[in-house]
Amino acid sequence: MVAAKRCRTVARVQCGHGVAMSGVPAHGYSADEYNFQEGELMNPVTSSVAPRLALRGISKRYASVIANDRVDLTVAGGEIHALLGENGAGKSTLMKIVYGVTQPDAGTIEWEGTAVNIRSPAQARRLGIGMVFQHFSIFETLTVAENIALALTERLPAATLAARIEEVSRRYGLPVDPNRLTHSMSVGERQRVEIVRCLLQSPRLLIMDEPTSVLTPQAVRVLFQTLRRLAGEGVSILYISHKLDEIRELCDVATILRNGRVSGTAIPREHSNTSLARMMVGAELKECTLEPRPPGPIRLELTNLSQATEDPFGTELQDINLRVCSGEIIGIAGVSGNGQKELLAAISGERLCAQRGALRLCGQDVARLDPAQRRILGLRFVPEERLGRGAVPGMSLADNCVLTGATAGLVQNGLVRGRAARAFARATIAEFAVKCDSELAPADSLSGGNLQKFIVGREIRLLPEVMLVAQPTWGVDVGASQLIRQALIDLRNAGVAVLVISEDLDELFQICDRLAVLARGRLSAAVPTAGLAVETVGVWMTGEFQGAGLAEQPADGVAAPPSAAGAEMAHADT
């Protein structure tokens, strides 16, 4: 089989050096297989001997930290290789070195048996290395097609490019509209653009940094099929993820990094999640548990909330009904771009709501109140974008506490209480184990996971009545994720109403009492997670929950008191 494959490759090479590239199907394989005609090229001589990529003794030191310390990594042709490690373990630095963004201080890189110096991403792409970044490099003012054209080395006519984008996106189940402007896209949709952009370049090594965090379970399956097919075609894949289940399902080999060093290699199929996590963290992980608990009075109530969108590519919210009670966690699943942004803006108050009474917080109509006024009533909010929204990049952590800390007395008589803010920041840093220089460190000097811990910590320490959290652990390492999830559960146990909007289904199943799905701007009923099948949620994510009922009734009967009584209780509560 392998030999046959190699022969084909060779045949195709000949073909490539001739003229008739379009005559490929004549060689006897389907058009489906023919999509990576350049990417899957293997050197028939070296591939059997030399690995696709070999890193030897790579070290990289930044001013104060050693990001990589004598790291060895070998990726064979057609292998799906997992790179596991906590945030700050040095995965990103290592990948930046492979992709030519930075240069190592010591060590060698061998590409298909030849020592190379990768000095720029452009050079890496020419070698055949593609990368899907966790933080996207997308120009917001450009369309999808324009963004992709920027990264391509060849110049294509716009129509051809659009057609190719559509073809690749259809083939891999990653729907994107080539003519759409990217600024209005959600995180999930942007990631799709990144993946499609990479696939268009027909890479021979594809680096994927947490690619599945924003996909539906079905789409993950499609992506895995895609990745396996790519691997089958000889493309090597370096797969960075924190999701141990996924790695065990997909990857052939895993290299585990801890504190910049390789702490082990493993064949993930032969390990349990616990043993992989132990290698990664260096210690045993606690599982969070959700003790059943009767919900209290209604704290957040959305009644027939409909809202047109100002953004031409936004999603219109239609007839949203939801009740979140004290002492329960409700999760909203769904692929981003289905109204998540709009729903968050409506609840947080960043976009005011025209319908009186559609939105009640602790029994009070808040439709016309701005975010600061809603905060006074007890709403706390952790947004999806940490830097630039949840925190101001250039400001210190202490100053970032003032952002939402008015209710904690950090602002008094129109003056900022600098000392109180610093004390508040210090306490948050200590309580949530935020790694930073001090409370005076600028927010953008923290890693994503640490900043998220800080923002979640800040909001929790501001004593919420209702806690709204978007993507609580997106791109956050296992240890920190665990801490954040446990903190949310603790909030619930303390009687706070918690609403989590996330694309990570595993997480939602782990921490939520009830689960609803947002699809195409409509919200399904919130049903208890116990006994709910992942597949059902997957179907709902495509918008097919008519049968399950849009209204709250079925769920309410089980989990929440009837609305009128709830409202009364809420009034009594305030």
Binding site: A63, A115, L127, R389, G390, P393, V411, V416
Partner: protein, 383 residues
């Protein structure tokens, strides 16, 4: 396969890991030095002895008490305008029309002094100053209304209003407010003595406006660093999405920014009219409001920086005048220095976030020339 030799520029701009603190501090002094060097070159090219020209430009104007007084006098409107602009720019509100707000401050303050000066008695100076501030605010309110109600760009509106304000002043001094005894010159009657701001020191013309400017510099530092309003404006400028998240009103920030910068520009205008000029005339400012934009950036939008930068800019004005008189250089030499200063400043600011890196000639790697090698090898093998 012979490789084509392509010339590669040996230096490349590379983003720094962290913005450089050293460059942040040194970029303004560096820009000033580069401007001086350029100035010397220009003097040389014009056939003047550079060192003598340098002395005429920078040393002679400041070698007397009167000269130092003039330095502070001219620094006053620059400082006032630039302090307001710095606050505004930090909030991401781009008021370009300080010159117009200054002119309107001169009209309202000067007008009140002209029409009611005698009636106001002891309160005349204070009343005139307050009216100047209000005039500047009123003029800045126009871009504020248009921006908050109709999302108009405050940059264009405030800039256009400069010319309207200047024409309004011109109309007033050519028409209704012209001095009947002024031999048809387009100027108003001189302001009454009780309106005029007295000189701080005998033999100079510097007045209480300079003290006010220094006080306002301290006040604006306090405003930006300790008040909640100043904090909200900084957040609005640094991260508009974070401001929206925290419920900070963008409209309030815009109004505040324009009222502060407009009011301070208005104060600058009335200090000129009730100070060194002493009457209304068609032109009350040699472009202080525009130069203040450069001053604000040269001072890195920090009050202390603005105080120092306004002194430097004032020295340029004085040097320009002195160069006109003694070296017969054109008046535009001041403009040239201002332009060079802004140019170098913007260039130097780039190096806060970026640095130049030498790129060595890449050793031969399969990647450097487009990756033909492996494919060619494969082709060769199969053929």
């Amino acid at each position: 396969m012979p490789t084509l030799k392509r010339y590669r520029w040996p230096l490349r701009l590379e983003r720094r890991q962290k913005p450089s603190t050293a460059m942040r501090i040194w970029c303004s002094p560096l820009a000033a030095l580069a401007m001086l060097a350029t100035g010397l070159l220009v003097f040389g090219a014009l056939g003047k002895d550079p060192l003598a020209a340098f002395r005429v430009f920078f040393v002679e104007p400041l070698s007397s008490v009167y000269g130092v007084g003039e330095l502070l006098l001219k620094a006053t409107p620059l400082m006032l305008c630039a302090l307001g602009l710095a606050i505004s720019y930090r909030a991401n509100v781009w008021n370009i029309g300080a010159e117009g707000q200054l002119t309107l401050g001169a009209i309202t303050g000067g007008g009140v002094g002209l029409l009611y000066g005698n009636a106001l008695g002891h309160w005349a100076q204070a009343a005139v100053l307050v009216c100047g501030v209000l005039g500047g605010m009123a003029w800045a309110a126009i871009p504020a209304v248009l921006r908050t109600r109709f999302r108009t760009s405050e940059i264009f509106v405030s800039l256009m209003l400069v010319y309207i304000a200047q024409l309004l002043l011109s109309y007033l001094v050519h028409g209704p407010w012209r001095d009947p005894a002024g031999q048809n010159f387009p100027q108003s009657q001189p302001l009454a003595d009780n309106v005029l701001l007295p000189a701080l020191l005998d033999g100079t013309r510097v007045n209480v406006g300079f003290i006010l400017a220094l006080l306002l510099a301290a006040l604006s530092w306090w405003f930006g660093n300790t008040t909640a309003a100043g904090y909200r404006m900084r957040v609005g400028g640094l991260a508009p999405a974070a401001a929206a998240y925290a419920g900070i009103s963008e409209q309030r920030n815009i109004w505040l920014a324009l009222m502060i910068s407009g009011g301070m520009a208005g104060l600058a205008g009335v200090c000129e009219v009730a100070g060194p000029i002493g009457m209304l005339q068609p032109i009350v400012s040699p472009g202080y409001g525009f130069a203040a934009i450069i001053v604000a950036f040269l001072g890195r939008l920090h009050p202390l920086g603005v105080v120092l930068a306004s002194l430097l800019m004032s020295a340029l004005y004085l040097g320009g005048e002195s160069a006109q008189m003694e070296l017969q250089l054109p008046a535009s030499v001041s403009g040239l220095f201002q332009g060079a200063l802004l140019f170098y400043l913007l260039a130097a600011e780039l190096f806060i976030g970026y640095r130049l890196r030498r790129v060595h000639r890449a050793p031969v790697t399969p990647g450097a020339p487009p990756a033909v090698t492996p494919r060619a090898a494969a082709g060769g093998q199969s053929a």
